[in-house]
Symmetry: C2
Subunit: 195 residues, 2 copies
DNA sequence: TAGATTAGTCAACATGGCTGACGTATTGCA
DNA sequence: TGCAATACGTCAGCCATGTTGACTAATCTA
């Protein structure tokens, strides 16, 4: 505020200026919130020599047990070389287990070990605490708005994946043990868009 | 969902499971949204050999014209060595101008040049478009909730800075030209917490 | 005047992205 | 049956951006 270059925009109660102000506060909020969101996990991970990339992988493996490598790559949006670096460490150190797919033996179905699940829980519960506190203060209505706006910001692919998962099995019609013929990844059963 | 290790949690309509599901969807939404939020600026920046670190610096210099280096460091939460790398490039290439402080000649007050302002506008308007579309779809009420929850997630320091700035001068009682005796950074006039 | 503060610098290192090029096992189709 | 496509892994190297530590110079302030 007080930017000399935008003086003409802020003169009076210019609605364009107000709109940009409003939007800028949104951008900044997202920036600051995301930083807080990653801060505590980063500290936990640093204790064991891991980084944020490990967190992402371990989170989504815990989220979709039996997920294949290529499905995980799609979610993370990184190259297999980048993933392999962190995945290799997590397998070596006993956080992640790999099993050959039964339907397709080329696949490596990824699951968390007990050790991995413990770490994942520690990381996620830390972030959940942060969110739960914010949710409690903000109220249910604000939370609904929060999720709606985030859904509007994210890419359609990601929104679709979340919706598909949500809309999908509420109960047990999809048993997701690691060696079943399908994987737990929502989009996996029918590979509609080949990578 | 379908995690074998949480089978006991998801049996029936366990409220704890539902709560964790709800929270996890929040975590994922933030992750996906933040990625979309940075995607387009990253592409623009890559054109001119800049990265996300440049974006952050140029954004906040545009936001707080006349900001000092140490104030910018506080906002960004990085080391001066990290900042100096990107700041040096931006000064060299004529995106950012430095002026000695008049009150304190040790300070370097940072402002954007016309070239810098043009880039900043290009980056910000890209993000603003994304937000504006999401806001429009979600509605004003959702937007309020969005901002409330983000405020609850971010660190108090950042929340305070945003509030202070917002609550502060609506009009012109704080002329923020680069060589004035104070800086445009909200917390700058009274250094309440020494770094 | 002494010490604190602001800013800048050099060097070295870690993380986590990337590209490109290969190798291997397996699958699926013509 | 045989070959192309697929899934996965790996080696090598590059780049951006964060870190620590040490040190200099200018300037302000008690």
């Amino acid at each position: 505020m007080g930017s000399p270059g935008k003086a003409e925009l802020k003169a009076g109660a210019n609605p364009l200026f107000l709109r940009e102000e409003e939007l800028r506060r949104g951008l900044e909020s997202l920036f600051y919130a995301y930083r807080a969101f990653t801060a505590e996990p980063d500290r936990i991970l640093a204790e064991i020599g891991f980084g944020r990339a490990h967190h992402r992988a371990i989170y989504f493996i815990g989220r979709y047990p039996g997920i294949t490598v290529s499905e995980l790559l799609q979610i993370l949006g990184i190259t297999k070389q980048s993933l392999s670096r962190v995945l290799g460490q997590m397998v070596d150190q006993g956080y992640v287990a790999q099993a050959r797919g039964t339907r397709d033996q080329r696949q490596r179905l990824l699951t968390l070990t007990d050790k991995g699940r413990a770490l994942e829980q520690r990381l996620t519960s830390s972030q959940c605490r942060l969110f739960a506190a914010a949710y409690k203060t903000a109220g249910a209505e604000a939370v609904a708005g929060f999720r709606t706006v985030l859904a509007g910001i994210m890419e359609e692919v990601d929104r679709a994946r979340m919706e598909e998962e949500h809309g999908g099995g509420e109960g047990e019609e999809r048993p997701a043990d690691a060696n079943s013929a399908h994987t737990a990844f929502p989009n996996a059963s029918a590979p509609r868009d080949p990578v």
